[in-house]
Symmetry: C3
Subunit: 476 residues, 3 copies
Amino acid sequence: MPWEGFEAMPLMDDDRLFPVDDRGRGLARSLYRTVKDLPIISPHGHTDPRWYAENENFPDPAQLFVTPDHYIFRMLASQGVALADLGVPDAAGHATETDGRKIWRIFAEHFHLFRGTPTRLWLDHSFETLFGIDVRLSSATADETYDTIAEHLARDAFKPRALFERFNIEAIATTEGALDDLSFHAALKESGWQGKVVTTYRPDAVTDPDFEGFVGNLAKLGEISGCDTATYAGYLDAHRARRAFFRSFGATATDHGHPTAATADLARVDAERLYGVVASGGGTPAERELFRAQMLTEMARLSVEDGMVMQIHPGSFRNHSAPIFLALGRDKGYDIPTRTDYVRALKPMLDAVGQERGLTIILFTLDETAYARELAPLAGTYPCLRLGPPWWFHDSPEGMMRFRQQATETAGFYNTVGFNDDTRAFCSIPARHDVARRVDCAFLSGLVTTGRLREDEAFELAHDLSYRLAKEAYRL
Amino acid sequence: MPWEGFEAMPLMDDDRLFPVDDRGRGLARSLYRTVKDLPIISPHGHTDPRWYAENENFPDPAQLFVTPDHYIFRMLASQGVALADLGVPDAAGHATETDGRKIWRIFAEHFHLFRGTPTRLWLDHSFETLFGIDVRLSSATADETYDTIAEHLARDAFKPRALFERFNIEAIATTEGALDDLSFHAALKESGWQGKVVTTYRPDAVTDPDFEGFVGNLAKLGEISGCDTATYAGYLDAHRARRAFFRSFGATATDHGHPTAATADLARVDAERLYGVVASGGGTPAERELFRAQMLTEMARLSVEDGMVMQIHPGSFRNHSAPIFLALGRDKGYDIPTRTDYVRALKPMLDAVGQERGLTIILFTLDETAYARELAPLAGTYPCLRLGPPWWFHDSPEGMMRFRQQATETAGFYNTVGFNDDTRAFCSIPARHDVARRVDCAFLSGLVTTGRLREDEAFELAHDLSYRLAKEAYRL
Amino acid sequence: MPWEGFEAMPLMDDDRLFPVDDRGRGLARSLYRTVKDLPIISPHGHTDPRWYAENENFPDPAQLFVTPDHYIFRMLASQGVALADLGVPDAAGHATETDGRKIWRIFAEHFHLFRGTPTRLWLDHSFETLFGIDVRLSSATADETYDTIAEHLARDAFKPRALFERFNIEAIATTEGALDDLSFHAALKESGWQGKVVTTYRPDAVTDPDFEGFVGNLAKLGEISGCDTATYAGYLDAHRARRAFFRSFGATATDHGHPTAATADLARVDAERLYGVVASGGGTPAERELFRAQMLTEMARLSVEDGMVMQIHPGSFRNHSAPIFLALGRDKGYDIPTRTDYVRALKPMLDAVGQERGLTIILFTLDETAYARELAPLAGTYPCLRLGPPWWFHDSPEGMMRFRQQATETAGFYNTVGFNDDTRAFCSIPARHDVARRVDCAFLSGLVTTGRLREDEAFELAHDLSYRLAKEAYRL
């Protein structure tokens, strides 16, 4: 066999993701060397503030790496593994399999499925750099790796705050719903720990009439904000109040995950009437969509008032499988991207606030065809718009390269905002930033070796893309 | 002139389609060396079973290479050559030009049009490997090449079965309509020849109300199946019977070529009513589309029953030119791809059967934007879904590379199914598989040289992509 | 700092845009050497015929490079620079800032925004080759470069005709509206200067009912053509007359910039009725779109009559920002591409005239997803269709490479028409053609080094793509 003996090699190639030509690789290495140790700015993500607040050890390897990670469990499911066998809870919250070692063995047995995927890069990075593992995961090495990871996780040096410091995170943002009491952020504040963990205002549960419990959510919003959400004015005041509350825990940004990028700018009387319809649990699908659309414009207006950066993450068809949703609930790997229009969709909001100084709206997409056609032209002219990094399925080496290749020529680099890890998988954060830094260095190197950029500019840009742009765009 | 003397060089570069950097090229060569002689699994195509059954010599070179190949005659037509001058028959089946040599001279004169196309790669491969031709086709070499090919085609060693064996085909699937009596497959079975040639069930003529003669086709379906196609239940039973008949000639798969990927899952009473409407030749365009949609779900249910693999080939706008269709009939090079939605389209079928164990549905597309956005996420979670290889216009080096670049990071390799040649051009089969194997080796090599995959894994994957995945997915 | 000392290097890399591997770079260089000095055929653009007619010196550097160039001012605007500060006039034609040096300083200060964009390549090319500048533009070098350029612009050798000759332009087409009196073309004709400057017939103002002043434009059309535009027949005759008038000033082509690619082929009586509706200022949005659609087919019919090449540039959402349009008027950087369908859109026109010999229709797109899916298949079969080069946002190294990668395998090279600079920025013309020639040489080189094309063919193609195809397609 031509590949005997490879199992024992280190998991990672030092030059991974760099160009293959000598000059390009050499320059990419030089660029990377200047950014690899920069602090991590993680301005958008989904880590649990409880971790930082309580600083408890993480549970077993399966609970850390497999069971909560939709990238992993959906791939195993796609090849016939039952989610229950991976400990993924059902709609009632009940997990069939709770034996971490059993879950880990199934995972290890299917590890080849991740060949060529970013998940594989993230996992190998974590295994090697955090746990010193130098054997590839497989059925043969399942128990050995499980034991190694479990042993590390029990140490103090692997508690959340220690890892946060080890990861060299300068600032991280979590994401909380509008109704969250931010108790973990409060506890964290009082703890005296110096790690910078801020929240992000994510009001979908009270801006999307199709969100579970929307009507009750509005009542709760009124209650906790002290505003009368029976009226549209009171409802908007409640948002004002909550946004201020979130800002008191460091929030600099809001986030909006709508099925489309539709915005609207209704006359006040029409907006009030529409609110009346949806707030009572009514409304046709078109009216519910119109309300979401109107809310994006209202949120942008509030951002003009209070300076919060607005993020729009549109285009996911959530919970695509009806039987899976019924049996297992949301977030079970069945969120599928859809074609997304931005040009007509954003016009009402941009006509309303698109020329406001101080406003920043960061656009994301799950539809890569929009990069060159819509997003770069829009961000390349509207002063309020910036392009978020490749998101979700596109947070990958090929995805990042396509983003730079398709967006840069029209939007340049300075209408982009650096990297978001956007993850709840804590251990993957350094790996994800490392991938982004490497791909950007490779892209910059390619521009230099093809005579489109000068070396000094590439070094400056490598720093900007790895650190400065995220910090500035998110005001962290 | 800087390029004098090149005409006499061999037609093919031994390293074609491999990476240009030394390490990448070396590894691609090594990978390719382990797969180039693997048997061909051709699980989906359109070769004529009559060839294998009767084993007659192929007619002249023009009839083999030019007249029946839509890749070739459409390109010549695009530059003003009349299809009649290429021997392409009109709607009544009459061919104006029947002199093979004349046709061949026109083809040779326009051979430069194929520069940079896969057709050129396939032709040069056939010319050189099958007929020992070492001069490029042009007006100057037209007669010489014609004579060489004609002389070879007259030999026993160039009869279909001899070529089948020479091509090292382990298994090939043809495609027949639901009403076909499979007489050539029957003759083949009785002949005692050991070549594995199976059929595929393609029921469009009896599932698409817009197909020519649909109402008559239903009557014929009833007659040959012995089922009462006047009722929906009888109609479905007729499918059951025909599928069983096809399986008795080796069929392991069905194939469905619809204008869109729409599926539906109507209540039984609504499906019966709809069948009544379309079976009598009625129905609005929307009802006819709904019937096609319903039939995909019914076919998937029958696949759950009988284990046949289901292939969906949506998105071709057939017979785009009305005057050409009127004068010359179907399949004259005027089938044009259209934007194709999968996310909403497939949901009814996937809600109905998407979690069934043992079901395999292979999705194809003519809309490459769906690879990363829709197809890879769907196949990367639904256990029944697999991604077919790049199809038709995308069955090309760039098309294959884009497929791997856009699908792999989300779906991995193991939700894909190897290569389909999908051709009626017999001599192109080894060439097409060779292109696919080379591109896959190049892609794998690139993953290794950029540190995203280990060498041993690349060797295993090269074998999987060239041979094993097709064999397993199609159960051959 | 690792990049000290780079500021003083020449602005351009001699090998820019070539492949990075040695063999590929060497071959690209050889190919480029044979085409770099070929005359420029510029068959579609927006330079001002007044320049050639009056041959006055260009005003200051800012008026030449910054104020009229939407690529530049939109990028600065996207980062918060006020258009007024760049001298861009408001809707009434009033320019706030008229001090060229002040404008230039703002531009210089923001020059880093163009890193990685084609604008940067074009500017550096002009700065270095025309003005001998060898320092990068920045705040530090703003005054020095301004003075150098201003000093050159005052010379006789920098007058329009001298530059035209220096640029080695064999033929250039300007674009004029149907109502233009072509007085500058007339003056040019009488001047005895031998430069070949032809016009192009662009009738949008009298074919698009949504164009400003449409009804009045029809009256003016009747007046200047001597035809009765109160009737549809007279209206079409007026087009005939104007097209003939334009041809008398060298026009060989027409150009049509519609929001979509929709075409229609109404019965004569319906077309007449529709004309009655829109010519009186009426019509629903759908009727206005239908009229534009009908006019594309009528224009194609007139092209069959008079042999003019037809260009279709669809898919721009013009004047996206309502407040900017209100304050500053059209063409202020807010034209955004949209998804564009060609398959269904073009069918009526193609059914009407798609098989006409002698007809050439050149299709452009702002939606790159159409290259492989729709445009290459259409141009790869319809004899009248050709593909225009990458347009506007896609007139860039990555855009050109994507075009070749996505269109060639289906349409080949010979259904494309060489390069269009499509610019009003005179000094950028040599730079733009240089980029196109380099990228094509790089693409061809890549085909050779990956064994998909022979060297002699690459040399022939390099010449075709740089010169011959444009000349032939546009009949110049």
